[in-house]
Amino acid sequence: MRATNTYDAIIVGGGHNGLINAAYLARAGLRVVVLERRHLVGGAAVTEEIFPGFKYSVASYVVSLLRPEIIRDLQLARHGLEILPLESTVTPLPNGDYLGRWADHDQTRRDLYRHSPKDAEAYDDFATLMYQLAWAVKPLLGVVPPDPISPGLRDLKTLLMLGRHARGLDEKRFHALFKLGTMSAADYLDEWFESDPLKATMSASGIIGTFLGPRSPGTAYVLLHHYMGEIDGVFRAWGFARGGNGMVSESIASAAKSHGAEIRTGATVERVLTRNGWVHGVVLDDGEELTAKTVVSGVDPKRTFLGLLDPDELPDDFARAIRRFRIRGSSGKVNLSLSEAPEFSCLPGGGPHLRGAFSISPSLDYLERAYDDAKYGGFSHRPYMDIVIPSMIDPGMAPPGRHVMSIFVQYAAFDLKGGWDDAKREAFGDAVVDTLSEYVPNLADSILHRQVLTPLDMQEQLGLTEGNIFHGELTPQQLFFFRPSPAWADYRTPVRGFYQCGSGTHPGGGVCGASGRLAALEILRDLRRRRGAGTTAAPGR
């Protein structure tokens, strides 16, 4: 075997978490290689010029909660990452009106007041409570999930730290936290607000990436995520990467390379190689073998444990838990190249609203009906959509005067009745354009190019099992020490030397990067321990 095929660590999958993991390991002095199946790194965070002159953030399209310590540790700004704030969310309404929430507090208050004076007040109270709760929950994001059933010393320390931190919560806030963990987004918001478009738009954050409707229990929790950034010193953590979401991946890859990591594209890992319960390398689809005592998977839990490994190598209960892990795809993506700026009939002409997001979520019933369509194996004929126009704030995304529009669409069943084909993909795309045209009359005539991704496309093109954008739904029973499975939520796996670092591990979800970083810190801890014990962790020991 060639010496060049031996590494300290192999990372399977060059998505943002895999790259972050590689960068941290390389920074610690390890000889690292990232193996990416596609011709470019980034996984679901890629920018591609599919139509000449127009750049699409093909799948993920905003930067949500990317951990600021990662930006600092890896000096990502120096490697080309610039995040531009997503300042507003406007919900156009069928009656020609709109509901807007803006960067400026007074402006938001005026807009809410038009719809409901009570909601305008409640909104501030809600924000205060959520800020407090986000602060209470925030330490969870930064710790390796402890094992509460058979805790080790460090687990106990973590539990104690979390307990101390949570002690600051008074009764009212504790109750609110419990409700957030158990209720549906719609029910929770009903306790606070009366304006339907406000409730619908806020509830949308709870349904994204799940095969659930706003009235399904367990959807309230993600409301908290939107307040998480406020306490990170990030100020509007939600934003666009200049140059599209691919720049997130490229800047991390550049940082990883600056620390000596090797990145191989066009390298499909066929199998993870094990011997006597230890990992010892991977084999590529062309038969090439690479060896390492540490292998890290950034791909989703299903592919990691049911695809890359032989499930026989796993304990039965663990393999069963992974099979049961809920990873139902529910969303699609439509990217448009436009010959002119879209004109929303609720706010005609240009203006700062075009730099923000548009949410097609006029009412809770609208969202729930969109879910109904998909529940029985279809796609929403009038879907929920989250729309941004990146070229409005980052003009480099399209030729001067022209625009790109990114449309996140929910719902579309992965298991579409009769299966997805080209005609159904286009019908899905038509449903999106037709629905949006009701609010943007000049849309249809200005489309120069359209890219439609169904959940199946996301599985086939991006490797996301069932097209689930989070590598598994972000619902309470799949979070923290349940992610992806009890007892194996600390980035380790039943195969020694084999680790997981993708979005299917805690905390997961969005372009956050915490999974990749925490996994790297755990790996380095294990390596130190092995060295400290005076053993070289030879396979077969």
């Binding site: 930006i71 700004a77 960067a103 402006q107 100020f235 700062p352 001067p400």
Partner: protein
Amino acid sequence: MRVPSAVRGTPFHERTGPLCQAGNWRRWAGHFAASSYEPTHEHEYQAIRSACALIDVSPLYKYRLSGPGAAALANRVVTRDVDRQDVGRVYYTPWCDAAGKVRDDGTLHRLGASDFRLTSAEPTLTWLHENARGLDVNIEEETERVAALALQGPRSRDLLRRITDGDVAELRYFGVMSARIAGIAAEISRTGYTGDLGYEIWVRAADAIPLWDALTAAGGPFGLAPAGMLALDMARLEAGLLLVDVDFIPAHRAIIEGQKSSPYELGLGWTVSLEASNFVGRAALRAERARPPAWRFRGIALDWESLEAAYATVGLPPQLPGTTLRDSVPLYAGGRQVGYATSRGWSPTLKTYLGLAHLEAESAVVGTALEIEVTVEHRRRRAGATVAKAPFFDPERKRATP
């Protein structure tokens, strides 16, 4: 006779006035300057870093030096060697009093062999005349006569190329050229106060409105936005650029000796050409260079974890400034105060809380661990900070010529 107004609009006010939705004005050298145009300044900052922004910098003091003695006068005043300045080049430079203490800083544009424009933050006419004795030079104040707009940001070149007859694309960093912009005679310099790709455009005040209109008419596709002083202040902090009256006190305004700084103490040693002709303060600076300066000017980066810990004592996450703070706060090393930070703020691009600081030389080595005073819920606490190199943000595009 009418009483003159204390504050007046710049030549662009007819356009900037109605644009300022925030109603948030401040004074700059007797003129109205928008703090922000929009209700919040975030987008204006992002326009500087990601698209392009228009900043009205007309209140700068501007002087034209011409005639056979112009170069000699410039050489007598500024610390840099004007003999080496080619026509079409701009020097950033401080100038000092006889004791070698900085009076002011600005840019010196060499528009012709004997034709210079000097910009300054402070009125400088008398100082120039005092130093012009015996020289055949014409000194003309053009502060009111010349309007100035900074066009800053990564798309500024693309925009300018569209409406300029000159070869703007070839204009190098700190170069200056004459050109017509939509038919208006202008000097365009590759300069600015943002640490990004950018230009400053100098036109007759009478041409200000047509210039503004031409730029804004063509700017839409490039994400052009007017930006105010709050956004500019964030960008210049990331770029590590000094601000007069904040990061240093002009020597001639100092009440006590301790308020004065030499160029070496402000990190401007690179601008001091001791071999140049006898500029004001040279002897003092030569003597100072023989022994290392007692103070250094450096960047500092606050340590996030310790800032979190300081706030956690009261159960709060860190409360960060949304704008650049300009009050001085003490810095400590080994339990002793070793300096003070004069500008501080959160960098949205670097996700770091940054500052510019005066430090005793022995504590000024990059990487030195410091403590900075932070006020947490009305109580003084300390957080960790590290001496860092400025500029903090220094993109290639700032200097690059395509």
